[in-house]
Symmetry: C2
Subunit: 79 residues, 2 copies
């Protein structure tokens, strides 16, 4: 787990990552395809989905756009 995050922060990032992964699977996309659509590296997409990245707002927006949903949906899944 990159970065030294508190337990709450880890839980938050894991939920955020899981929401992204769930949507990707729902859309029938592989991590490779999502990486291609967003211009992000595949290993980065994988680490975001595992909750290992304190992902930026613009990367969240890119993933939401590629997954044809609203970025706020990912955050709602953490609330």
């Amino acid at each position: 787990m990159a970065g030294n995050y508190t337990k709450d922060e880890k839980r938050f990032l894991k939920r955020l990552g899981l929401a992204i992964k769930d949507r990707r699977v729902e859309q029938g996309l592989s991590q490779e395809k999502l990486a291609e659509l967003t211009g992000l590296h595949r290993t980065y997409v994988g680490s975001v989905e595992r909750g290992e990245r304190n992902i930026s707002a613009l990367n969240i927006k890119s993933l939401a756009d590629a997954l044809e949903c609203q970025a706020s949906n990912f955050f709602r899944a953490t609330e």
Copy 2:
């Protein structure tokens, strides 16, 4: 404007920052007070509100917690 962002990215960050500022003002907090509550630097809070920062998920969460609202609200304001 830090970072070389596209026009869409700048618009997105500006809307995100404005949503955070609106909520701060609604809560009657100064930037100093919000910085104190979140442990973020006051100048950083100002630059986020002006849309100059590609803010991280955890910082968005800290601001939402300090402003007693859901982080998804900030993103909904950009949608």
